[in-house]
Subunit: 433 residues, 2 copies
């Protein structure tokens, strides 16, 4: 059978992993693809850097047109990060008749509707398994394996960097800044880890999952998100005292009022599978009717798991499965009606863990409890450890609430933070019921 | 678009779940299948039993020929248990030009080569996601999502009945017979649970996974298997004392000498994901290169998860994905060369937990240790609790070995069981390293 000619755009860490698989696993890939898959072009601006991979002569080029203009190339793995030129290049590839495979969740979360509509118009496909949870085949699971189900809940740890940082803080007791520095030195965190630790990355992935699982038309910026950068070692200790671990949880939950969505550091009961996810791993817990609970766990990022997902997508594309899946998914179009409405964030209920830094004097708890009460938030438990004689002037006060709406919690916190007895550095986390 | 006309053969528990989904989830299924999926015939010998599902008139029949002879029916869900007439009916369906969806792992494990070869000759497909681990999409994961990987290991809990029994024994301290009776009363175990508890069911599923993941040509009867029926509450306590839980583990592991396969009650270190699988759940831990560890957890059997898997397969079949996957999988043919050799079971190494019932007198440990030594099996630890004054004459002696081959362990046990000081009821379990 004629080989399928494919190209790779973006020859960084993931690109190198993908190229290595395509070059070294030819037989396996040919078997699954039904014909040889021949990598005929790699496009990158940097032609000189040593990626530790010996390429056949002439494979690497900085000329994108050599891919766009080659009609024999039908599938292209595009591994350029960020929004531009990634978006323009993807549009050009689609218009040149190529099916595209991507790992760029930011691009999909931002420009998904435009890109998917364009691909549909042109009869092309975009495969994106690698964009969410790396080595965990969650996109295929939802879009192909759980198709008979009404998905009811998705609870997920989607950012390995945050999870690594939280686990280190919990296990070693080291503080946030030191742990971020460690994560950077180990390659688990970028030089600027903002998108990982502030919940952006997880919210973008959650937006993709919400489209897939619920047919929601949600923009990632509209997903309420809190990051882990306010979480302190003290919170880890309090959480443990209460029987919980802290996880950056991305949640989508279908209730009669609509689809609840949020990303937040969350207290998860110890001993449950999500609480036990360690290090840079990702995990996703899906509840569907009739399948029940299904739990997936694996590496969420990095060269190896991501290239595994990319090459599986490439095989799906070459063999023709992806065209079918893409056609039937009706994914992500602003021109179609959403199947579920997203619930107004302020009305979403939940339990909260609150830590205030307060003056160590009588009456403070009463003031704070008063404000919570005024906002109809009732208190489930309080931790305020006795301070040593001559101890500090400012002490932590931890309050676990019963269920309260996001809006009430935000309003109450605003009021509490204006109290004279409350000092900066309030921490708010969700509590998984 | 023309609806896809489908039929269901076997209207038992699973069949009822499948019919309910097809009748009640028409819109969802049509969306994913790219066209309406119309259930036009259900065949069962029992036309009278109330399944709690209102069927359109004329749907249920006992006439198989009404399906075989209807050329408009292109896909058939066949949910008949056992080997015959399941095998003959499946061959007839294939010969009548139908694609088949099955949940019958015993049939595939026994007659897979014949059925798959015949389907290939006829250009038809057989889908079987529901045959292994119910609601966990492990067949799709291995055959579509991890296709770039060299799978290195599969460790799995594939029999929910056994896992339920082991968990109950561990948590409640009740004995094996009472727990089996409880499992039967709750519907987790058949009236005759032999195939579940003796490892047959798990070995059949492991054979299917080994074909898929490794391209091995293995007959399930050749997979060494031990059941859980010899495991006592005392073993649960000893295991816990040593830091382990007992699980019926199905293992496939690729080593330079070949593919190691076995099903055995196994001590799994507490705190690891497999050890924490509770009740009737299944779990599968796959290690692949380059994906690393991926872990799947979900309900392994029962109407709901199984019908979720069956309907997903039906959608895959109707939409055309299954034809592609089936064609490229080259699954299970005796006429093709195996890609890996199965390692001679006797030469497979492993650590063992051994419990002997021995006379409570000096010298017994020395005798047993002597025989183990003669078979080059060294002892890692021994548990022999002091018996109370005037205690029992026969006491348990627990030995954990270092790595020994399956053959040496079997030989040594045979010799030890012939000792006068050793009474019947020896327990042998594997220890997961």
């Amino acid at each position: 059978m004629q080989p399928a000619k494919v190209a790779l755009i973006g020859f960084g860490t993931i690109g190198t992993g993908v190229a290595r698989l395509l070059l070294k696993r030819r037989d396996r890939i040919a078997r699954h693809a039904g014909r040889p898959v021949e990598l005929v072009r790699i496009v990158d601006l940097d032609l000189d850097r040593d990626r530790g991979l010996k390429l056949p002569k002439g494979l690497l080029t900085d000329d994108l047109d050599s891919v766009l203009g080659d009609a024999e190339i039908t599938a292209v793995v595009q591994l350029i990060g960020g929004l531009e030129p990634a978006r323009s290049i993807m549009l050009k590839l689609l218009e040149a008749g190529k099916d595209v495979i991507t790992a760029n969740k930011a691009l999909l979360a931002e420009h998904g509707p435009e890109l998917f509509d364009r691909a549909r118009q042109l009869g092309r496909s975009i495969a994106f398994e690698a964009s969410v949870a790396g080595g965990i085949p969650i996109i295929a699971a939802i879009s192909e394996c759980l198709t008979a189900n009404q998905i009811e809940e998705v609870h997920a740890i989607l950012n390995g960097t945050s999870n690594f940082i939280l686990c280190e803080m919990e296990e070693k007791g080291s503080d946030y800044a030191a742990t971020v520095a460690l994560a950077q030195s180990l390659g688990y965190a970028e030089a600027d880890p903002a998108m990982d630790v502030d919940g952006t990355d997880a919210a973008q992935k959650l937006a993709i999952l919400a489209h897939l699982a619920f047919g929601a038309r949600v923009r990632w910026r509209e997903i309420p998100r809190m990051g882990i950068d306010t979480v302190g070692v003290a919170d880890m200790r309090f959480a443990r005292e209460l029987g919980y671990s802290v996880k950056l949880l991305a949640v989508a939950r279908l209730v009669p009022e609509g689809l609840e969505l949020h990303v937040a550091p969350t207290l998860v009961r110890r001993g449950t599978p999500l609480a036990e996810v360690r290090g840079a791993y990702n995990a996703i817990r899906v509840v569907g009717d009739p399948v029940g609970r299904v739990f997936f766990h694996g590496l969420g990022a990095g060269q190896n798991p991501t290239s595994s997902a990319v090459v599986a997508d490439l095989i799906d594309t070459v063999v023709g499965r992806m065209a079918i899946t893409f056609r039937t998914l009706e994914l992500w179009s602003d021109s179609r009606e959403a199947r579920v409405r997203v619930r107004e964030p302020a009305s979403v209920p939940g339990r909260y863990y609150l830590r205030f830094n307060v003056d160590d004097r009588p009456g403070v708890l009463a003031e704070i409890a008063g404000i919570l009460g005024k906002h109809h938030i009732s208190i489930a438990s309080v931790i305020q450890h006795e301070t040593a004689e001559g101890g500090e002037d400012v002490v932590p006060l931890v309050i676990m609430t019963h269920s309260a709406t996001e809006g009430a919690a935000a309003d109450a916190l605003g009021a509490i933070e204006r109290l004279a007895c409350v000092h900066p550095g309030t921490v708010r986390m969700r509590v998984r019921e």
